[in-house]
């Protein structure tokens, strides 16, 4: 899932200066799981914004809505009838949702309420770590299910560098060496002999390095 973090409330308050009517818009998917932009976080942020504006002696309308997600047109349509009532929308969805909202409702200011971080998983409650960088050419079959693009600091494809020490990456003692993990995993799978196979030069054109990307499926288009 996409992992995001709440923006500091002070930053959002600063963006909303002089707005009289604000909608705090949450998302029920990834940002709910990483406890950054779901219904609960919408409630807390809206309450904080209300208290701040009341404390300034201002009458600001702060409403709360949480959509199923903000990356599909059908869900964004749910607020079409009400969006014109607001000077600004603080979207707690990931960067995708904020942008899709802005494209759909171009006449309304859409502001981000979270910082989108990476594609990752919940290791335990309160700890989310990166696992995928969307390189577009998945090699997990070869590396025993551990991604050298997302988890190796140098994105190496043919074994560890000289900085790998006691299973840790040279950039930090807290970061596992991805290639140590790969070797251990291949050993556990009885496939360590495959480690010797050379990986050909990767085609990075499907990575973000090749420019903004799209996926087209003509067989399902209407």
């Amino acid at each position: 899932m996409i992992v995001a973090e709440k923006k500091p409330i002070e930053e959002i308050i600063e963006c909303l200066k002089d707005r009289k009517s604000v909608l705090v818009l949450g998302c029920n998917e990834c940002v709910t799981v990483c406890e950054a932009g779901g219904k609960k976080e919408v409630g807390v942020l809206a309450s904080a914004l209300r208290m701040h504006s009341l404390n300034q002696g201002q009458e600001v309308r702060i409403d709360e809505v949480t959509l199923e997600r903000q990356c599909d047109h059908e869900y964004l349509e749910e607020i079409r009838d009400v969006i014109d009532q607001y000077d600004a929308v603080v979207s707690l969805a990931c960067g995708v949702g904020v942008q899709f909202m802005a494209e759909t409702y171009g006449q309304t200011e859409i502001l981000p309420g979270v910082n989108t971080c990476f594609m990752g998983a919940t290791e335990k409650r309160g700890l989310w770590t990166e696992r995928c960088q969307g390189c577009g050419q998945c090699v997990l079959a070869v590396t025993g299910g551990i991604c050298p693009v997302a988890r190796c600091a140098k994105r190496l494809f043919n074994g560890p560098c000289g900085g790998s020490t006691s299973g840790k990456c040279e950039i930090s003692k807290e970061v596992d060496c991805a290639w140590q993990l790969i070797v251990d995993r291949l050993k556990a799978l009885g496939r360590l002999d495959e480690f010797e196979n050379l990986f050909p030069i990767k085609d990075w054109s499907t990575d973000r390095a090749g420019g903004p990307r799209k996926v087209v499926r003509e067989d399902v288009q209407q």
């Binding site: 409330i9 609960k40 807390v44 309450s47 208290m51």
Partner: protein, 114 residues
Amino acid sequence: MQYPPSINIVRVPCTGKVDVLHILRAFEKGADGVCVIGCLEGECHFNKGNIMARRRVVQAQSVLDTVGIGGQRAQMFNLSSSEAPQFVKYAQEITAKIKEMGPNPIKLAKSRAA
């Protein structure tokens, strides 16, 4: 035993039921202080409801500090249900603290605007 009359008691089956939003909305509506009183740590009948409540009170304090209401207005105390004198002591303590801090700034701002 008597405790200050300015305290309005809201009973819950366990402080674990108290949500961050309950605390924040009380201040939105003009409460001068919110005090969560739960069982002694390690003695929660529902295992760790009081532990979760403390974390929520801390989160509420942080939000209240950020918006200028004052995080010290929200407090949590732990006691056993048989410790009535302790309850009176905490009630007097929180009342004195809130009196010292003054009324909820939102009430003052509203009366200035009116």
